[in-house]
């Protein structure tokens, strides 16, 4: 635990972006998420930590309704984004997902060119009026994805030909190209080497300025490095949620303490 640099950071209280109340998730008969209530702030990196199978990814996927694609999955309770219930019958999940971008565990660029990867989202949402506009959006997204300099000379090369870390940053660029308000990241660095991880973490910190970022991670060090708020999940319960500094230095719940000191998990 000696590399857990918990930097002194200024913690602002931002306004609440996502508010979940009494969320229950069932996979068939399996009760995966139990009574989770949490308020996630805007312009903040929130980390979900916990042992495997604790439900942190499941909860993340509730926030953009990716769980809808699983037939047996059932969600109850309220999740509000900016005060609007995203599980309301009137909400189209497709519209929601344009607002809540997602980056997955394994880099999954489309088997198309780098340009087309980034341009796809803006194209289907009609964000660009013309080709020059689209070029701009793509360039901006790639710049904010911290990958522009590496790919600017080969925008039409296949995205699958990049290295793992570059692919993941491309996926982040693709996610931010649609101008989301929330960015969900499901273990974005678990398939990357330490150098690529450092680059992605740097990028996450950068993204905090504009988005509410929620990141699921297996690495407590990573949570400590990138997040301002941390939520600890265990067996489907949200055990503890608070300032990252507090969670790691002075946890309230004994389970949290056991986990971060390596006794469970």
């Amino acid at each position: 635990m000696n590399d857990m640099r918990i930097a002194e950071r200024k913690v602002d209280t931002n306004e609440v972006k996502i508010a979940a109340k009494d969320v229950q998730v069932y996979y068939g008969d399996n009760h995966a998420i139990k009574d989770v209530s949490v308020e996630i702030e805007d312009k903040t990196v929130t980390a979900f930590i916990g042992p495997s199978g604790c439900g942190k990814s499941t909860f993340l996927r509730c926030i953009n309704r990716m769980n809808d694609t699983i037939d047996v999955c059932r969600v109850t309770g309220d999740i509000m984004i900016d005060g609007e219930d995203i599980y309301d019958a009137k909400v189209d999940p497709v519209q929601l997902r344009a607002k809540v971008g997602m980056v997955f565990q394994k880099p999954n660029p489309f088997p198309k060119s780098i340009y087309d990867n980034v341009a796809y989202g803006p194209k289907i949402h009609g964000l660009a009026k013309n080709k020059a506009d689209l070029d701009n959006i793509v360039e901006n997204a790639l710049r904010r994805g911290a990958i522009w300099d590496e790919v600017k000379d080969r925008l039409h090369a296949p995205g699958t030909g990049l290295s793992g870390g570059q692919q993941q940053r491309l996926c982040i660029a693709r996610a931010i190209a649609t101008e989301p308000e929330v960015l969900l990241m499901d273990e974005p660095c678990s398939a990357l080497d330490p150098i690529a991880t450092a680059q992605v973490e740097e990028l996450i910190d950068e993204l905090r300025k504009s988005y509410s970022v929620v990141i699921v991670t297996h690495s407590m060090q990573q949570a400590a490095r990138v997040s301002q708020k941390t939520a600890f999940f265990h067996l489907g319960h949200l055990v503890e949620y608070g300032e990252t500094t507090t969670i790691f230095t002075n946890p309230v719940d004994p389970r949290t303490e056991s986990y971060i000191t390596g006794r469970i998990g």
């Binding site: 997902r97 796809y120 989202g121 996926c171 693709r174 649609t178």
Partner: protein
């Protein structure tokens, strides 16, 4: 008590050398070598059968592509024409002129063989009619030398191809031993020779007594129109059904039932589809018998399961991460399928479709029951629509028809037809392989 046996010296296993194989390793290696041999033997047997199949097909079928012809050049004068046209038996007169020209050429090459009109008829049939109709159509050629190529009878053809030898020849009113002397002499004089039989590829089927004039052309057209029907029905229906089942349909008892039934449909004997086609399309819906339209509909039913199964397999092979990626940037379900999943599944779908079409192209049993087998396709369809609705035969049906005719000349034609059918199938499979290579993308 047992301490002695626990001393380190006794407990240490015997040290083995890496340079010596122990018994277990030897046994495993021997098993592996044996297995490789079995594999190679299996492949060798397969190849042997393939070689055997191809040699027998080529040996029996290639003669169908050559036709023995009697080529003779002579000049018909206006006087001869007028005389012949004034007679009662006009074609007989022309035949006399032909025979004179023939013996003239034989004598010119220094060969002296006796023959009569009957022998000529046994060798080339009655050439008078052909000659007369040529000059009636081209009166300007009277007085100029004209070269005639007349198809020899199937027995003469068989003699030159080795199907009939002097030993196996039974004297009959169709061919006699003395005729063979004449054929030999004509061959020496260069009058009788083998020529490539274009008529076999472009011509239409002949009657049961004329294997020499039989061609596969009309049934190739029949098969072509059937394949058009199959392609334009089974591809869209099959792909739409698979996309719905694989990507959109909820997984419940109903979709399970549909899935099982599609798999079962693929295993239904093709003759069952034939009788279904007869009952539904011809007897109930009143479509014309023997029409490629009906054949195509029946084959569509047969091809659908193949296409659905292969399409679903290639859709399922597209990694779910691609779907997640598309949904994650806010694509709708349909956009994710049509923009990302379908292009990746395309090579598999195309391959499945072409394999399904190739299978349909070679299918005979369903065509038996809708009247395409046994139909003598003497004419090409006249219009495009007629191609679908006019009675016609199809390649495998034509082969089946020929194989069941009595004249041994048709047996040869059946083998020749198989060669053409195989060429089509090989071409289609090659296209499938090419398309797969062309569209294959890695992710």
């Amino acid at each position: 008590m047992t301490d002695t046996s626990m001393t380190p010296a006794a407990a240490a296993p015997e040290k083995s050398s890496l340079l010596v194989q122990d018994a277990r390793t030897r046994k495993r290696n021997a098993a592996e070598t044996r297995f490789r041999m079995y594999g190679m033997a299996a492949i060798a047997v397969g190849l042997l059968f393939l070689v055997f199949l191809f040699t027998s097909i080529l040996r029996s079928g290639l003669p169908a592509f050559t036709q023995t012809v009697v080529e003779i050049e002579f000049t018909l004068t206006q006087e001869q024409f007028d005389t012949a046209e004034s007679k009662m038996l006009k074609t007989g007169e022309y035949q006399k002129i032909f025979v004179n020209a023939l013996s003239g050429q034989l004598n010119a090459s220094g060969l002296d063989v006796d023959f009569d009109n009957k022998a000529i008829e046994r060798i080339v049939g009655k050439p008078g009619g052909t000659i007369r109709s040529f000059f009636l159509e081209n009166p300007d050629r009277i007085g100029t030398p004209v070269s005639f190529e007349l198809a020899a009878s199937s027995r003469v053809d068989g003699y030159l191809n080795g199907r009939i030898t002097r030993d196996t020849l039974v004297d009959s009113r169709f061919l006699m031993a003395t005729d063979l002397d004449l054929v030999d002499a004509l061959q020496d004089a260069g009058i009788v020779k083998g020529a490539f039989n274009w008529n076999f590829i472009t011509g239409t089927d002949s009657g049961v007594d004329n294997p020499g004039g039989a061609g596969l052309g009309a049934s190739v057209i029949g098969s072509f129109f059937m394949m058009l029907v199959v392609l334009f029905l089974s591809l869209p229906i099959g792909v739409a059904a698979s996309i719905y089942l694989e990507e959109f349909a909820p997984k419940n008892r109903w979709t399970d039932l549909i899935e099982v039934n599609i798999s079962n449909l693929a295993a239904v004997p093709s003759i069952v589809f034939g009788i279904l086609g007869l009952a539904v399309f011809i007897q109930f819906a009143g479509f014309p018998q023997s029409a490629p339209l009906v054949g195509g509909l029946v084959l569509t039913l047969m091809t659908l399961p193949t296409i659905i199964i292969s399409t679903r397999a290639s859709l399922a092979a597209v990694p779910p991460s691609i779907r997640d990626a598309a949904l994650g940037v806010g694509a709708s379900k349909m956009q994710s399928v049509f923009h990302h999943v379908l292009p990746l599944a395309m090579p598999g779908i195309l391959t499945g479709t072409i394999i399904g079409l190739a299978q349909a192209l070679g299918e005979t049993a369903p065509l038996l029951l809708i009247g395409m087998v046994g139909f003598v396709a003497r004419e090409y369809p006249e219009t495009f629509v007629g191609g679908f609705t006019d009675a016609n035969s199809a390649m495998p049906a034509q082969i089946y028809t020929w194989a069941s005719r009595a004249d041994p000349g048709f047996y040869e034609k059946a083998w020749g037809g198989i060669i053409i059918l195989l060429l089509f199938l090989i071409t289609m499979n090659a296209i499938a392989v090419l398309l797969r290579r062309r569209f294959e993308r890695r992710w």
